[in-house]
């Protein structure tokens, strides 16, 4: 499990890559801990799932905690490019109400860039 980080229009794009199960969640927990430590107020974050074939509750847990961190810092975090299987796990867990989920990265970018 890897996280590729880049910047688009002053948004952080986090491209996850790999299976987001218990092992995957543990592998990216460190990234999100460090990410939280960065002294950034009000940042806008897009998590891209294009290369995440699979997610379990362990993966959801990491994302919820990342969302909470970003919100605490007055920021915003949205998700995009999920396959149907991954999207369904968000639905079944009721977290599709908690996260804003967009089809394309561009849609997500537009949403978080809007004034």
């Amino acid at each position: 499990m890897e996280v590729e980080r880049m910047n688009r229009d002053e948004c952080d794009i986090l491209r996850l890559k790999g299976r987001l199960d218990l092992a995957g969640a543990e592998a990216i927990e460190g990234f999100f801990k460090e990410y939280r430590m960065e002294p950034m107020q009000g940042r806008r974050v897009i998590v891209n799932f294009a290369e995440v074939p699979y997610i379990s509750s362990s993966g959801l847990r990491v994302l919820v905690s990342a969302l909470n961190d970003v919100k605490e810092q007055g920021g915003e975090m949205v998700l995009c490019e999920m396959n149907v299987g991954v999207e369904e796990v968000f639905e079944f867990s009721g977290l599709n109400d908690v996260f804003k989920i967009y089809r394309e990265e561009d849609d997500a970018l537009q949403a978080v860039s809007a004034p």
Binding site: D21, L22, A23, S57, L60, R61, V64, L67
Partner: protein, 157 residues
């Protein structure tokens, strides 16, 4: 739930070291068995999820995260009910079966760390679930998922 009993005639029995990285092997073994019996792709994903959640629970709640311990999984195709049945055994302390049975209100962030989501998902994606605590020093979580074949394409139908 009488026909969700541990099965000595399973198609496969898999014992895995309690390492999170190896859980995918259990998921794929169960998925392969389901594919052999014609389960559709969406349901295979769901079956993988159920297997994953239950095996991850065995690692985190019943093996004390000790990677040298083992847990065991059996899986079988049940001809009578045209379904895949999975048994996951651990030697941990076990837990209250009602946790599995009762459908609770889902905890909502940001107030909580999303606990209890795993078994909620297992209930969502399987047709039947049961838990046998402490038989022969082993606990066993059992679930069943019916085999529904891939929907025919319009052109084939």
């Amino acid at each position: 739930m009488t026909n969700l009993m541990p099965n000595s005639q399973a198609d496969l029995c898999l014992s895995l070291r309690a390492d999170p990285k190896l859980v995918v092997i259990a998921c794929k073994a169960v998925r392969n068995l389901a594919e052999i019996h014609g389960m559709n792709e969406r349901d295979c994903y769901r079956l993988e999820l159920a297997t994953d959640e239950v095996c991850s629970n065995a690692i985190t709640h019943a093996c004390e995260r000790d990677e040298h311990r083992n847990y065991r999984l059996e899986a079988a195709y049940d001809e009578v009910d045209d379904s895949i049945v999975v048994w996951v055994y651990d030697r941990g302390e076990g837990f209250d079966i009602e946790r599995v049975k009762e459908v609770k209100e889902l905890p909502k962030p940001p107030n909580c760390p999303v606990g209890g989501l795993g078994l909620h998902l297992v209930r969502k994606v399987t047709d039947d679930i049961d838990y046998l605590c402490g038989k022969n020093g082993e606990n066993c979580l059992i679930f069943r998922k019916r085999v529904i074949p891939e929907p025919k394409l319009a052109a084939e139908a």
